[in-house]
Symmetry: C2
Subunit: 288 residues, 2 copies
Amino acid sequence: MLDVAIIGGGPAALSAAVNCRQRNKSVCVFGRSLDSSLLFAAEKVDNYLGLPNISGEDMLNQFYTHAVKQGVEFKETRIKQILSMGDRYMINADNQFIEAKAVILAIGLSKSKGIPGEIDFLGKGVSYCATCDGMLYRNKKVIVVGENEEGEAEANFLADVCESVTYIPLYQPVLNLKENVQVKEGRPKAVLGENGKVSSLEMDGEILECDGIFFAKNSTPPESILFGLQTDGKNIIVDRSMATNLPGVFAAGDCTGTPYQIAKAVGEGLVAALSAANFVDEKARENK
Amino acid sequence: MLDVAIIGGGPAALSAAVNCRQRNKSVCVFGRSLDSSLLFAAEKVDNYLGLPNISGEDMLNQFYTHAVKQGVEFKETRIKQILSMGDRYMINADNQFIEAKAVILAIGLSKSKGIPGEIDFLGKGVSYCATCDGMLYRNKKVIVVGENEEGEAEANFLADVCESVTYIPLYQPVLNLKENVQVKEGRPKAVLGENGKVSSLEMDGEILECDGIFFAKNSTPPESILFGLQTDGKNIIVDRSMATNLPGVFAAGDCTGTPYQIAKAVGEGLVAALSAANFVDEKARENK
């Protein structure tokens, strides 16, 4: 079992990882590749103290090298679900389940705000993970809204389980869909429900009836990754120790709010790491 | 008039300075020399992301160089007093008065806790600055408690103004006192008062009567630098934007609380800088 699982791959995640290692905790960073960080594309950064006038790519590489030197492990994957198991957390990494005593969320800025009703019906017909929740919709009608090609894999998975799958791509081209997935053009407007459950998806001038809606997004809203996590709009709510409302879960970086800056992310990553390390140590003392 | 005055000289102050310059604000760092930072003595630092395995001295020099490149001004002095002038602040830099629209306190950890009664009688007979408050004690009896040789200059200044000056050195040797300053050995125990004003200083088994007590300390308690600043024990109270309770006054680094770490200080310095820059911009818009 890991001491600390870190979700993300930008400066906050890497700073948290380095500082967990400094406290001699085992740690794995679950994230997408470095070039998926917004920082990667920055032509020049000049306000992170000590590294003047550097490209975002060079900075990320220096950060990554530092973390590797400290013995940080990496797993390239997008985490869509973390389950609380009472005294530990279970990270669902592409259906490989990894246990951790504490979690640091450094998942960056949630770019897509969602449509009306989306978050309200989360767990009541709305899902962000077909492999997590698909079985709940066996022999039912589902819609998959895809912001990127990962949506196609979600739709194909559901096509083996559900009565019907409608796929609404928000990108082009769509290349790899199974035959029994029906493609529908247009933009979703709102998730509609009846008796507290999803009943349909509103499109421009059209209502599509369904039992469930899966969203495959470029970034996943934090409360959908970890059930019960308190947020304020798109920000995860943290205290000065970077603790969230869930025991053993900490957050750092852009996902906790403005300013969206490297030094803030690195500082919060450090604070979250020390808090997570303390949490792990206290649990160990309690169990003695 | 300066846009932002930064008090301190460690990583929080330098990060704040770099980021004020990024926002095109005029800025001066008022601090002691770099080698007075606790970081200077660190043999090896390995947990500030991007600069692995570096000495504290090298790190501070890199930070300083970065700030100089950005056009940050420096003034080597210890600030003991900042006065609120309503719409701006007046920095007392060795009796040279410099105005600023906003202030960032990055004054590090207050190492001396003070003795009982010390903070209670601040401004009612207790002072940390002879040149600021000396005239209030003309022809009165004062005591100067010196943690370092700066106390001797304080005592000598007061010797020209007051009826009597007693000097209690907490260090050795004492070299440069005027003849009419009386030296007293021993350790102060408590500041005592009557009717809300200082009446005497309690020593081991002895009470020294006086009208005022001046403390020359290795580090000055924040609330004595800036009247009305809210603290919680030795920490300056800040919100997530690093704002203190005083408008236009922000704080960053060790003075806001644990963890006492570089990345936390650098991150908070950035946040304080952006908040101070916003404050200055908003004031400018209001005055248009």
